[in-house]
Structures are given as C-alpha cells and as structure tokens.
C-alpha cells in the first residue's frame, strides 16, 4: 500500500477496537451479500400493514395520493406548453418547428424522451 494512501486516511481500517465482532468476520469473503438484504418493497410486504388498525400511521399510510389537478402537458423537447401530441410516437410538442425536430428524431431518442415521462414502450 502506497505511503500517500495510508497518510490520507481514506481507507477504513480492518480492525476497530470498539467493535465486538469485526466486519470481516461477520461477512466472510466470497459470499454474495447483496441477496441477504430485503429491499424496501419486500420489507413493506413483510410488515403486513393490513393487520394494523387503519388510523395508525405507518409507512404506507402516509403516502400522498395522486394529484387532483389535471396534469398539464408540457413539450417533451423544449419544455413549453404543449397542446399537441404526435400520433406516431406519442411525444408532446409545442409548435411546427418542434414538430419537425420530433419527426426527425431517431428511434432510440424517441424512447429516451418518453422515458423521462415514464411513458416509454416496454417490450417484454
């Protein structure tokens, strides 16, 4: 290990005195650890909030509902207000110049713009 690396103090030391179990013993090398941890969705499923009384707040309860305002449509490329939608690609555009650019986009760019809005076509 180079001198300057040690001096900069960047690395985490492998042995720490205040720990009861060192991390290298806890997670021996060579095992795939990422599978041990449940992601948020699985945690919430395991919590089983349906059994709790509904007026008690829990992680799922406090989530906000969908917006009651009608969503404003904005142009995908420029960000202006977009009264029009391209029927072929379902991209939103603001006026004729933007439309020319929309029609000139290669296929993967179309999907990338739609992906910004979470509206891309997923083929499974």
């Amino acid at each position: 290990m180079e001198v300057e690396v040690i001096e900069s103090g960047i690395l985490l030391p492998t042995y720490l005195s205040f720990k009861r179990v060192q991390i290298s013993e806890k997670y021996p090398k060579g095992q795939a650890r990422s599978r041990h941890w449940k992601h948020l969705k699985q945690i919430l499923q395991a919590e089983n909030y349906t059994n709790c009384p509904p007026n008690q707040p829990n992680y799922v309860n406090i989530e906000s509902p969908p917006s009651t305002y009608p969503s404003k449509k904005y142009c995908d490329i420029t960000g202006y207000e977009a009264p029009y939608t391209d029927p072929r690609t379902s991209l939103r555009y603001a006026d004729a110049d933007v439309f020319k650019r929309v029609r000139g986009l290669p296929g993967d760019y179309v999907q990338k713009y739609l992906k910004l809005r979470n509206a891309e076509v997923i083929l499974r």
């Binding site: 985490l12 005195s17 991390i23 309860n61 989530e63 906000s64 960000g79």
Partner: protein
C-alpha cells in the same frame, strides 16, 4: 458535489463523559455525527460506500464518503460503484450501514472495547419496524452501545426553529430531502404523524431530470454531463418559477428577458493549432515532387512492359524452333521427342504459339480487334447443303461471332450519335438563352415548378400509402387508380381460362402488360427526379433569385447533421435556459416525470385535510407558520411559489406565511443535539435489556416525544 476535505480524526473522545450522547443524523445524502450540546456536527460526509480493488495487491478496500481523486489512481474503480445503504429514505442495507458507522465512530476517535455513549439517531417518518429493529440490533450488538433513541429529522428541525422563534408551536413542516418530501403538521409542539404526507420526489429526481435533458440535447457531450457536475449546476443555477406557464411563455416568445436568464456553461475546449497555408514555394516544391514521382512511375511501367515483351518474344522463338525440330524429326520418334519438351501434341504447340503472339501484340499496344475484324467468315455465304456437319457447326460459330462484333459496332455508333445529339441540344439551349434570357428563365422556372409538383405528389402518394397503418390498412392502396388497374390485370390473367383463341404474345405490345402488373412507377419517377436536379442546377447557375427548394417530401431535418466545418468555441457551450426552472418544477408537478403523486403545494392541503379535528382556527394557525427545511428547499423562489400555491387551496383571507429554516441542511442535527443535551433525554432512550425483553412490538409503538 463540491469537494469536501476528508474529515480529520478527532482527538478529544476521552474528554467526554460516559453519559454524553453522540448524535447522528443519518440522512440519505449526508451522514452527520457529533456530540450532544455542540452547535455543529464534528463530521459530515456523503452517505455512500465505495469498495474498489487495489491495482497491485488486489485486495478490496473500503472507502466511505467522498474520495480524493489524487489517491484513487491506485485503485481499480471499474467494478465498484458508490453504494448507499438507503432505498428511498429507509435503511435496508445494513452491511453498508455498518461500514459507515465504523467510519463515523473511528473518525470521532472512539477507542476502548465499545462505544460507551448513548446514541440518538434519526430515521424517516414512520420507519418500518424491521429497519428499526435491525438498526437497534446493529448498534447494540456490534458497538455495545448502552442506550439508543430514534427520532424524525424533520421534527428536530422544526423544534429547533421553534426555539429560535422562527415558527410557532402549531405549524407545518415541509421537509424535502434527497429522495422524498414530507409534510408534517405540528399541533401543540408534537408532530402528528397520522396527518403526515409523503411524496417520493426529491433532489435526486431533479438532478436526474436535468442530466437526462442535457444529455439528450447535447449528445456530443454526453460523457461530460455526469451526475456530480449536474448537481453542481443545479445548486448554482436552478430556481423555482413563480408561475411556470408565464415563465415558459417568456422563453417561447424569445423575449429579451429570456436571453438574460439563459446561462451558458463553457466546456473545456482547446483550439486546434491552425495549419499555416502553404506558401508559394511550398506549393511549387510539392508540384515538382509530384511530377517527379509520376515520371518515376511511368519509367517503371515502361521498363516492365519492355521486359515482358522480350520475354514473350523469347518464348515465341523457342516455340517456333520446337516446331521446326518437330518437322525434322522422324515419324516414330515424334512421341518421345514431344514428351521431352512437355507438350502432348502438335496442336498444343500451335495453340501456344498463337497465344504468345496475341499477348505479344497486346503488350506492344496494338489493338487486337482490328486483326480479328479482318478474319474472314468464309463459310457464311456458302449454303448449308454443301457443307459437312462439322463445317455447319463452324459456320454457325462464325455467324454468331460476326453478329456479336456487328452489335458492338452498332452500340458504339449509337452512343456516339447520342453524344452528338446532346451536344447539339446544349448548343441550342445556349443560343436560346443568349438571345432571350428572360423568356428562357421563365420557361425553365415553369418546368421546375411542374416537375417539383409531380415529384412531390408521387412522394406524397407513396408516403400516404406507408402511413396508413392501423386505420386503413390497404385502403389507401386499394383505392389508388393505378393499383386498381394492376389488380384488374392480375385477376384477369389468373382466372382467364382461355376462352376463345389465345392470341397473347402475337404482338409486341402485349408483353407490356407485365410491366404494368408488376412494376411500380419508379422508373418514371427516377427520370423525373433526374430532370428536376438537372434543371435546378441550371437555375442555380444562371438565376440569381432562385432558391433551391428544400426537400419538402423528406422529413429528414436532423439538426445534428455533422456539418463538415471546423468546430468552434460555441459548439462546446451548453446553454441552460428553460431547464433552469423546468427541473425544480418536478417537485411541484411530479407528473412531469411520470410519478403519479401530489406535488409539494397540494401535499399541504392533503395534510391539513387529514387532521382529525376540523378546527378552523387551528388550521389558520398552522398555515401561518409553514417551515421549509431539507436540502432540496434551497431553490430560490420556492417560498413565494409555495405561498401562492397554498393560497389557492385555502379559503379566502387565510393568513399564510412560509418561512425558511435558519439552516435547512444542518438544522436537523442541531435540533437533535439540543434535545440530546436536555435532561429529559435519558427517559426517551431504551437500553439493550428493554429491547430484548419487550421485543419488536414494543419497538413498533416507540415514539420520541419532542417536548
């Protein structure tokens, strides 16, 4: 992220008594740790873990927080990425959490066999019990912490600001973090989680949106637009528009304010060294060199040719000599003689001689065809009846070759004639132009217009056929008159049982049916297009007012066609105009990203609605003290925007006051520190025995009281 210097190891760990709590603000973006009662955290670093491999030794090391680019060159960072312990705002990956806590305690100077101080750690609102219990387990088991307390960071921030006098006892706290935003109402100083509201949009989504927009707009610079750089840009330049619609219209109309609001980011660009134009002598020298090279090549070619000629002549001589010898040799010795030379029979020698003479002639540059033409076709004129079968075959062959050569001559003649004709036409055109330029121009322009119309119409028909996808599949095709004709011909041809005499094929024009049936009118259109290009080029040459018609039929106006001109400084500038306020707008309208939840302004209304008691005065009091905390509320203009939006939801005349926390980023830690320093803190914590005796259900109901 602006580079933060590495936190130094603290040396005063032993100066703090055992009951002094350590306060940790465990946020999704930053991890802050410090002693209770102080006004600033000792350490603050980014809450990520990086595990690269050392290049030479191959061992995997752990780096927590920001890393120093100078040192990183010793490590191979391709395989590893920055890993966070968080999923949205909940800790789920406790291995990374352990690395981070290790680092935090180590930098605080911890020593001894365990961390012997009570700990106050923050969590998200309504943290799932599993995450809470795992965290408690980690702290108790691995670090030997005596007692522990959990609190919500937004609440700490609110209480801190309440103590400072910025907000009142009843109010709303709007906390916008990295991944999520919360709105928490406070009644009587205590947060009411039953009426709390959370949207899964935060500063990360704003940065990500900005990054994607810039990358799509400037694909050439995609590699320079990294998330770190974009976060810097966001912190420096983004603002929240008071009314998105009117701001955007400013830009759309191209007003001068729009120009002023656009900021330009100049990427690193070095002007390539300009090559000096070659001077006259240089050019002359280069021309002389070229000539010399050409001369040399010609000499070499001539040399080769002459050597080849001499070779062939030698060969020819040798073969003739052989033939002579053959003639001299006696009959019975012929075979043995022949086998010596390597030729099987006399005919072969003859054939070889002919071949060599021909190649010799070619090498000497004489045209062999002339000699062939003088070949006689002696047998053609002789009638068939006299000849033997062999001779008949011979005659057919000669007739065939004669036809071929005549055909070749005829084709050449035709080409020559066509050229002459074209020359004549051009000359006539020129004369016409010279005598009456105006009229000529008019005629040319009219022809151009006609042809463009025809071509466009044909193109439109074609693309119309292609565009009728779902609605009228084949309908556009079927209704076309030409296609109708084709169909008619095909069906009649197919189903014609041959009633009556079949005289098809007797005349030449009958075969044209097949071209109509199967062909497209492409040949005609090609000719039209060629004419069109010819005429437009002529017009461009002579007509000063002619503007080349842009390709109306093709929609291929790609703005990023790499025009072959030298790159200038402007190419390396990234203009950020609309994006400055388009990206933070996501916080207020999550629909722009496709997240189907309420924005910050609506969340306040929802939160007030969720309060159990419909107390108008209470709601009044709440809206008159709305506090913004969290890193993502630092955008300029956010307070005004929130005020106008909340005014839309509240009844007329309600008092609305939006305040910003004194330090939105550090206030959570500071609030937690003041709480930990208070004497009632020891009653809020739970110890290891409590945890083991009472179990998980008790932990579910554990709540920090903030008064």
């Amino acid at each position: 992220m602006p580079f933060v210097s590495r936190p130094q190891r603290q040396h005063d760990y032993n100066m703090f008594p055992s009951n002094c709590p350590i306060v940790i603000d465990n946020g999704a973006s930053n991890f802050r740790i410090g002693w209770a009662g102080e006004c600033d955290p000792r350490l603050s670093f980014r809450n990520v873990v990086h595990r690269p491999r050392h290049k030479t030794t191959g061992e995997t090391v752990t780096i927590v927080g920001d890393h120093d680019p100078a040192v990183m060159k010793y490590f191979d960072c391709t395989r590893s990425q920055h890993r966070s312990a968080f999923d949205y705002n909940v800790v789920y990956q406790f291995e990374n959490m352990e690395y981070i806590l290790d680092y935090g305690f180590e930098r605080m100077g911890a020593y001894g066999s365990q961390v012997d101080h009570p700990i106050l750690i923050t969590e998200c609102a309504c943290n799932p019990v599993q995450s809470r219990s795992k965290m408690a387990e980690l702290l108790f088991e691995s670090y030997g912490v005596p007692s522990l307390a959990f609190g919500v960071d937004a609440a700490f921030s609110y209480k801190f600001n309440e103590q400072l006098g910025i907000c009142n006892k009843d109010g709303l706290a709007i906390c916008s973090g990295l991944n999520t935003s919360h709105v928490i109402p406070f009644v009587g100083g205590e947060p009411l989680f039953e009426a709390c509201c959370r949207t899964n949009i935060g500063g990360y989504h704003v940065s990500e949106y900005l990054k994607q927009l810039l990358s799509l707009k400037y694909p050439y610079h995609m590699s320079s637009i990294t998330l770190d750089k974009v976060e810097d840009l966001k912190m420096e330049h983004c603002y929240v528009a008071l009314d998105y619609g009117s701001e955007v219209r400013l830009f759309q109309n191209g007003a001068k304010e729009a120009e002023e609001k656009t900021r330009c980011w100049q990427l690193l660009w070095v002007r390539p060294p300009v090559e000096a134009l070659p001077s006259e002598e240089e050019k002359a020298r280069k021309a002389a060199n070229r000539e010399k090279a050409a001369q040399r090549l010609k000499e070499m070619a001539a040399l080769k040719r002459s050597s080849r000629i001499t070779d062939l002549e030698n060969e020819l001589q040798g073969l003739e000599f052989l033939l002579q010898q053959l003639g001299n040799v006696q009959e019975n010795n012929v075979e043995s003689f022949l086998s010596q030379t390597g030729y099987v029979s006399k005919q072969e020698i003859d054939a070889a001689i002919v071949r060599v003479t021909q190649s010799l002639r070619k090498a000497k540059g004489e045209s062999p065809e002339m000699k062939e033409k003088t070949e006689q076709y002696p047998l053609i004129d002789v009638p068939d009846s006299i000849l033997s079968p062999e001779q008949i075959k011979e005659k057919q062959r000669q007739a065939f070759s004669k036809n071929m050569s005549e055909g070749r001559v005829r084709a050449q003649q035709k080409r020559f004639d066509e050229e002459l004709q074209r020359e004549k036409q051009n000359q006539q055109d020129e004369e016409k132009r010279l005598e009456n330029p105006e009229l000529y121009l008019e005629q040319l322009r009219a022809k151009h217009r006609e042809l463009t119309e025809k071509v466009e119409q044909r193109k439109r028909l074609k693309t119309n056929d292609n565009q009728n996808l779902s609605g009228g599949v084949g309908r556009g095709e079927r209704l076309n008159a030409a296609k109708k004709e084709k169909m008619r011909l095909l069906t009649t041809a197919a189903f014609d049982k041959g009633k009556g005499e079949d005289t098809f094929g007797a005349r030449d024009e009958d075969w044209q049916v097949y071209t109509v049936m199967g062909g497209n009118d492409d040949e005609g259109s090609d000719w039209d297009e060629a004419e069109l290009t010819r005429i437009s080029s002529r017009l461009q040459d002579i007509d000063p007012t002619f503007v080349a018609n842009p390709e109306a039929g093709s929609f291929q106006t790609i703005t990023e066609i790499p025009k072959f001109r030298p790159l200038t400084e402007e190419d390396f500038q990234i203009a950020i105009g609309v994006e400055r306020f388009r990206c933070p707008e996501v916080l207020f309208q999550p629909n722009m990203i496709g997240v189907d939840q309420a924005g910050l302004d609506e969340m306040c209304g929802i939160s007030i609605r969720r309060l159990s008691s419909k107390n108008h005065t209470l709601e009044e009091r709440m809206t008159s003290s709305i506090l913004m905390t969290g890193g993502s509320c630092l955008f300029p203009g956010m307070a005004e925007r929130l005020e106008t939006d909340i005014r839309k939801i509240r009844p007329f005349g309600a008092s609305i006051k939006v305040l910003r926390a004194s330090d939105p980023i550090l206030d959570a830690w500071r609030g937690a520190a003041t709480y930990a320093a208070a004497p009632q803190f020891s009653m809020q914590t739970f110890s290891k025995q409590d945890y083991y005796e009472k179990g998980e259900d008790w932990l579910r109901g554990y709540r920090f009281s903030y008064t």
